[in-house]
């Protein structure tokens, strides 16, 4: 299973803070986002693609972006850009 955690306004949109996706259904971040979109039915894949996405603690912009591989036991985190003080 791939463990997905969601924070920020996206959590509100999806109505959940975490979900588990069968690793056989998604080999890349791109596929994973499509699965999440279908599972929840509350966000389009394009909306999820705009999040800050971390795979096992590393931002996908430092990896292979949406082609970043995901597999069993991986943790994928979806965050929103944020500011505060």
């Amino acid at each position: 299973m791939i463990n997905v955690r969601v924070f920020g306004p996206l959590r509100e949109m999806l109505g959940m803070g975490s979900l588990r996706v069968d690793a056989s259904e998604a080999k890349t971040v791109n596929e994973l986002l499509t699965v999440i979109s279908k599972m929840t039915g509350l966000a389009k894949p394009s909306e999820l693609r705009n999040a800050s996405i971390f795979v096992n603690g590393t931002n996908i912009i430092s990896l292979k972006l949406f082609k970043t591989a995901v597999g069993p036991g991986d943790e994928v985190v979806l965050l929103s850009p944020i500011g505060g003080g």
């Binding site: 924070f7 920020g8 306004p9 965050l79 929103s80 850009p81 944020i82 500011g83 003080g85």
Partner: protein, 634 residues
Amino acid sequence: MESQYGGYMGKVLKIDLSSRKVSTYPWTDRERELYLGGKIMAAKIISDTVSPDVQPFSPDNPLVVTTGPLTGTGAPSSSRFNISTLSPLTNLLASSNCGGNFGLNLKKAGYDGIVITGKSPEPVWIEIDDEKVTFHDARTLWGKTTGETQDALPARCGKIVIGPAGENLVLYASIVSQERVAGRAGVGAVMGSKNLKAVTACGTKKAVPHDPEKAREIFKKWAKALKEHPLTGVQLPELGTAGLIAPMHYNNILATRNFAKGQFDEFEAVSGEILKERHLIRNKGCTTCPIQCGRVVEVSGKQVKGPELETLGLLGPNLENSNLELILEWNYLLDELGMDTISAGSTIGFAMELNEKGLWDNGLAFGDVENLSDIFKQIAKREGIGDLLACGTKHLSEKYGGKEFAIHSKGLELSAYEPRRSVGMGLGYATSNRGGCHLNGGYLVLLEGLALNLDPLTTNSKAALTVLFQNIMEAASAGGSCLFTCYLAMPAFMLKNANSWVTRTLNKSLTCFSSLMAVIAKMPAWMMPFHFPGLWHTQALTQVTGMKMTFGRFKEIGERGYNLERMFNVKRGVTEADDALPERLTDKPQDPRIPKSKVPLESLKKDYYNIRGWDENGLPKKEKLAKLGIEGVG
């Protein structure tokens, strides 16, 4: 002394508590043009009136409360006011900003600011009502909490009050107005040293913009932009500043275990998401603010202000504490006692590590936090170990050692951002005039992983961006705006499309073209005769004051303020060596596998001084001061 400029009341009140003499502090339109208001105005007044030998608890140390020209005009997010003085923590210039109702009411009373000097022989509170000043006996208020004190004062007035911590000279005591707090650098202790328990202000006057109709139009557009922006219109209203906890954890910048780490395994328990799901009653915010980033929660059956990010971070992960209910309780307690939650949390974290390393047997331990309510009360009363904890991290490190992990800069404890994975923020902490403050430091962490994704470990462009952001935020604060209004300068399309090639390219270009960024940071005012997209302050200030406020002039006012404060600190002995961080942050990589995960402070400082027009010792050059028109200051 009236002003030709709109937005101002045209008068600054001067009160000497020793003689009870009330007069007007001379403040001219030329000074309004150069220093605008707020913290820069206060810096000028302090610079002109305080000699280098004055100590923070001397009656000669003024407590200067100032507003900006936007305050009270209806401009969005502009109910802010500033309190400046000599800090007992840093012995340097302190400025602390607050969003309560005092600034608005001070202007209604007819004043842009107050300069309070001297010391009352007995506890006193001051009432300012339509320019009339009355001194009241405060002996019955002495010892009361900030809430009890505010309840005992006239309901119709704006108030600033101190609690027991200020009375007992806790070096990081705060000043409270409604539920908002001027928390940093010990301004409450200075108020306490004057035996001044409270000041109230009310009146019937109105701050009138130069062009009321055009000002109203700008305010409307500005408020709409704030409501539509991803940060100020979605994220901050939805989760408050507490929403930063999770992104900080994943970006390795969440101060944990006295800044030994940047991640806390149990971060979610103290996150904004859990705060919202389990405790949020409703949002709340400052008057005139469309953002409403404040939280209302319940503590002991009472609806009170919820914790901000800094409080959650420094009383949570920094102490290895994942008990959110305790943080809610402490947040309320510390506000009632009148004590800065940042310095309190950081000092306790340092004391825990001193104990762990056998340097000070104080009974405090990471994760063992059940008795901290009692410790905070001891600090406020200066009893037991509370008497030493009341002096802050720097003083403890001088007494017990551990300077390499004493997390402060210039004596002020750092905020909750661990800077080894945000090196620009590290530079900001070290160069901030009031000491280790993220906002006064330029808040580069916003660009280094939170809102944008600039490489957080590269030094490229970081000095230039720090200078630029410090200057802009300095000017925004002086105008009377909440610094969150500056976020509109972050293009919404970049925030909404974090992974698009356009955003990634822009992120990269900001650090690739380091020389260009330096040129922009140094660019004189006349070369920037325009309004910068998203920085609505310049358009609003133009219509409110009648001054032609371009982006260049605005940035230059901020630069003038930063240099003025620096010169004041230099005259009190600050050198390049004081622009420092503890060795833990500059010498020890946060992740041993990533050698660059530390703050390369010396090289950053070199670039920073160069862009600022300061010499290698961190002293502003004469020509720089001359260009800013402050060569003779002080």
